[in-house]
């Protein structure tokens, strides 16, 4: 048989060698141009990761391993001297040495939300911060950082509240919020915390976290105590979460597991929170709660405010989410009265 003529073969294939090379050239040029354009527009950092891909899933679990399972520890201290109450409460739980080891780097989360003096009770009291920071250093902490992302200007907040002076006086370091400290976080299963900027940049190197909070009425949440204090890790236009305040606090409670919580109910803001304004909004409630369980600590705070758990729904919601125990009696709290 004779092989088919060259022209006939080309017709059958539908493509000549010349055409093939031409098309290959065009396609390569387009591919190179697209790749080059992509490379030129490539932002190695990117504005934020795609949802669920690289976002943080939490700020960490800083609980002591032996206390991570089962009921936590708690001391309820009555009195009026914050330093003495913190000291005796922590001593009753085995001393700060049982929570902070030599060389630990401790982060203390305070409530410095407002640029108002400590006497108005809208923020963590500097005496409570000073007492906790001192105890950390005495236990051998290598570094103590103090932070919050306040509502008002951070410098004013830390300054006017007296927290900056209290921290510096004990050798602790204030970490004010700045853009570089924020990273997106998506809580697994979370409905609200999805790619939301949180102040994660204060955590690298930290291996213990202590939350020191006041006890306050809150117009929207019912009460602002330990769990609501976690709100201060959020960045962005976080006021949008006020529409589901119980939902966001419940999610925040799952975002971070602190080593220790200090709830300062020495004086509580009973009405007109969270800002207050009048000294008549405050009441001597004479109680300091030291607890490894933030839910249990807040349950006592609710009692100090003369309310029920039904009036502050996020506490039971956090319990349901497995964060802690709303029935604080199950922690067999150690009762101490510094006045006796």
């Amino acid at each position: 048989l004779k092989p088919p003529p060259k022209e006939e073969k080309q017709k059958a294939d539908g493509l000549s060698r010349r055409d093939f090379l031409k098309r290959l050239g065009y396609a390569s040029a387009v591919a190179l141009a697209a790749g080059g354009a992509g490379l030129a527009l490539y932002d190695p950092k990117g504005p934020a990761p795609s949802e669920g891909e690289k976002a943080l899933t939490g700020l960490g679990d800083y609980r002591l391993k032996e206390l991570a399972i089962g009921p936590g520890k708690m001391a309820i201290v009555r009195g009026s001297n914050r330093a003495a109450m913190v000291k005796q409460g922590i001593k009753a739980l085995g001393g700060m040495e049982s929570f902070i080891r030599k060389g630990d780097r401790v982060l203390i989360k305070v409530n410095a939300a407002f640029a108002t003096p400590a006497s108005l009770g809208a923020t963590t009291h500097p005496e409570a911060l000073a007492a906790v920071a001192s105890q950390c250093f005495q236990a051998g902490a290598a570094q103590v950082l103090v932070t919050d992302n306040p509502i008002n200007n951070p410098d004013s907040c830390f300054g006017i509240t007296g927290l900056a002076e209290a921290a510096r006086g004990r050798g602790a370091q204030i970490v004010a919020p700045r853009a570089a400290l924020f990273e997106p976080l998506s809580l697994p299963g979370g409905k609200l915390l999805r790619n939301w900027p949180v102040m994660a940049g204060v955590f690298p190197g930290v291996n213990k976290v202590i939350v020191v909070s006041p006890v306050k009425d809150h117009q929207r949440a019912g009460a602002s105590m330990t769990l609501k204090n976690f709100y201060g890790f959020l960045g962005g236009r976080r006021n949008v979460f006020h529409q589901d305040i119980n939902g966001i606090i419940t999610e925040l409670s799952q975002m971070l597991k602190p080593t220790l919580c200090v709830l300062d109910g020495t004086v509580s803001m009973m009405t007109n929170g969270p800002t207050g304004g009048s000294l008549s909004d405050l009441k001597d409630t004479g109680t300091m709660v030291i607890s490894t369980d933030p839910v249990a600590a807040d349950a006592i705070g609710v009692e100090l405010l003369g309310r029920t758990l039904a009036e502050v729904p996020y506490i039971l919601m956090a319990e349901k989410a497995g964060v802690g125990q709303a029935d604080y009696h199950r922690l067999s709290p150690i009762m101490i009265d510094t006045r006796s």
Partner: protein, 338 residues
């Protein structure tokens, strides 16, 4: 050389169109995704830290900012800050939820050191609420029980470290960080200077509803205006309430004026429906006027009636006698009023 035309088969053509359609869909998908920035990016771009105020950095340019006077002895510690509905929560956090439903327009504030009171820290807040009624709503909603009234304005009281009052559409807080000798005089002198800068009062168009609460048995500092969701009933807005201790028991009176009698009737019905939905049962009260509706749940009595374009009644009375007594007095006060 003439270009050779290549024949394209139907299957090839179809495949080609399919690939082009797929590429088109990918482009549309990319454009849609790019238009939907994730919230973290929006948050970071709009407010690198958490939306701190631009106004905080310099002089505020708002109507309330210019009302803050310079008073001898009050040394400014910071520039005036101003806030609108979008960023009020940047200053007062969750308490913004009290102001926003009540018609909040803007707020300016400034920090001072008060020399005469041991350099006390003082902060003055002026809230523009849009109307005198709205201003009263936020004033009364935060009133500290038992605090003495102040002669500064019709709605004014003081506490050990602060002064609170309304004037027209403005609500003012002057707050110090301590109670000190001579502090109140200083705060009052600042308040007077502030009031002197306020716009002059506009003549009242109609009777102030809150003045119609019968005086007998009323705890005066309990008169409040609830801007939204009164008694937990969604949409029951702008209701005045006042708490009573009567011989026949305790009760809370309420009144709200609407534009027309029909609107008042509809509002009354809304509340009655809310009560019924929450398990309240109607009570027969033969001696009561025909337009009184009385309901009860667990010994808590509710009474609702309409007088002209005012919906009024009694909430949480401890006995039917207390409900009827207070409702009768309210009706007498409302008679003949527009």
């Amino acid at each position: 050389m003439a270009r050779r035309k290549v024949r394209v088969g139907a299957a090839q053509r179809l495949t080609g169109y399919g690939i082009l359609s797929l590429l088109g869909l990918i482009i549309i998908g990319l454009l849609v995704q790019q238009a939907r920035f994730n919230p973290a990016v929006n948050a970071v771009l709009r407010a690198p830290l958490k939306g701190r105020l631009a106004a905080a950095a310099g002089p505020a340019n708002s109507a309330t900012a210019v009302l803050l006077p310079q008073v001898a002895g009050f040394t400014p510690l910071a520039p005036v800050e101003s806030f609108g509905p979008d960023n009020l929560s940047d200053k007062i956090d969750g308490k913004a939820e009290l102001y926003l439903p009540a018609g909040f327009k803007e707020m300016s504030c400034r920090k001072f050191a008060l020399e005469s009171a041991g350099k006390a820290y003082v902060e003055v807040f002026i809230y523009e609420m849009g109307s005198a009624q709205n201003a009263f709503a936020v004033f009364s909603g935060q009133r500290r029980p038992g605090s003495p009234g102040s002669p500064l304005t019709a709605n004014a009281y003081s506490t050990a470290n602060a002064l609170f009052f309304t004037q027209g559409r403005f609500y003012v807080e002057i707050v110090a960080d301590r109670a000190a000798e001579g502090l109140q005089n200083s705060l009052e002198s600042y308040a007077k200077a502030l009031l002197a800068k306020f716009p002059t009062k506009v003549a009242k168009k109609e009777t102030d509803l809150k003045t119609l609460f019968p005086k007998e048995g009323l705890a005066p500092d309990t008169v409040r205006l609830c801007a939204a969701d009164t008694f937990g009933c969604e949409g029951l807005n702008n209701f005045f309430t006042g708490e009573y201790s009567l011989k026949s028991g305790k009760a809370t009176g309420f009144m709200a004026r609407r534009d027309t009698p029909e609107q008042a009737q509809a509002e009354a019905q809304r509340y009655l429906d809310f009560l019924a939905a929450n398990g309240y049962q109607k009570v027969q009260t033969p001696a009561a006027p025909a337009n009184f509706s009385v309901l009860v749940l667990d010994n808590s009595y509710e009474l609702v009636f309409v007088q002209g374009r005012t919906v009024a009644g009694v909430h949480d009375a401890t006995s039917p006698e207390a409900a009827l007594e207070l409702a009768g007095k309210l009706r007498s006060e409302l008679k003949g009023k527009p």
